[in-house]
Symmetry: C2
Amino acid sequence: MMQFPSKLIADAVASFSKLPGIGEKTALRLVLHLLKQDKDQVSSFSSAIERMRNEIKFCSTCHNVSDEQICTICVDTRRDQSKICIVENIRDIIAIENTGVYNGLYHVLGGIISPVDGIGPDQLNIASLMSRIEQGACKELIMALNPTMEGDTTIFYITKLSKDKNISITSISRGIAFGGELEYTDDLTLARSFSGRLPYENYLSN
Amino acid sequence: MMQFPSKLIADAVASFSKLPGIGEKTALRLVLHLLKQDKDQVSSFSSAIERMRNEIKFCSTCHNVSDEQICTICVDTRRDQSKICIVENIRDIIAIENTGVYNGLYHVLGGIISPVDGIGPDQLNIASLMSRIEQGACKELIMALNPTMEGDTTIFYITKLSKDKNISITSISRGIAFGGELEYTDDLTLARSFSGRLPYENYLSN
């Protein structure tokens, strides 16, 4: 532990150090940066964070973060109501939205099934997904989960629950990332990129 | 610019992104981390930062950060009052204090002389250093400035001002860092490590 000449500094450094990926030295650099800013700026920094935590809501339909009871995506009737994209967390929604390729709805699971971590289906937003499916508008569930064992288990579980619901289930494709090198790709990914191979015309239109 | 599903999130991300070395993606990761914490924790995070900025003082003697009018170092009579270590900023004091090798006082210049950046002696805490020297307790000024052209200019300037004050001026030694490789050391450092060479016995006791 570093020693600081001021308890105020020490407290601020300790607060920053609790954030993921921020060590004590980085925390100190951030604190001394803020120390050089106007009081107003620092005040708006800290209030933006506190307001975010206190006033944020979660969409009662898809569990996305939202400023209102229903999020801007669910409320947007121009979006394709027949597609629901299943994601693990909010960060995934933001990433997909920023590609601009998807115009359907989302459903945030809040995690993935992971027996090792003691996370079963009951801890995830799966019941609410099923009741959305019951409502009948959804024709396709697009699984956009990370390509891990846990992701696959979760897809398998939801697929089983959705049987007889007259709904098609797809997954985003997995393979070698754009710009990636075949030589350095792990076995599982390489194997999948073979079993998931596409006719050349489809590949081009992708 | 990324798009966010909530203005509250967008504001918090924008606030974090203003910090040095924190890009938008990292900012989002920090914000979503805070979103998962208890409201109390987030509130104590934001108040630690705001209090730090609003309540911090600068020591009227050495310009170190302080919770009081005089900092804990200046107020400590067990410290060697005959030595003042000149540093550029507060971060340097923290670094030196954490080595535990120095038991004298400090003086924070608040920068170094840099004509290119328009920083002259008048923008630095040099007048207050001179009046500390006038008081007569200080017998040695230890220059702990970065080994740059600006650092050297600053040392030269202060040395000139302190002439006839009956005070010895030293500089922390410069050379190849512990664990550093001679082969990859720049010319200037290597040259200095020759001109600053020590008899072996002195080197060992260093």
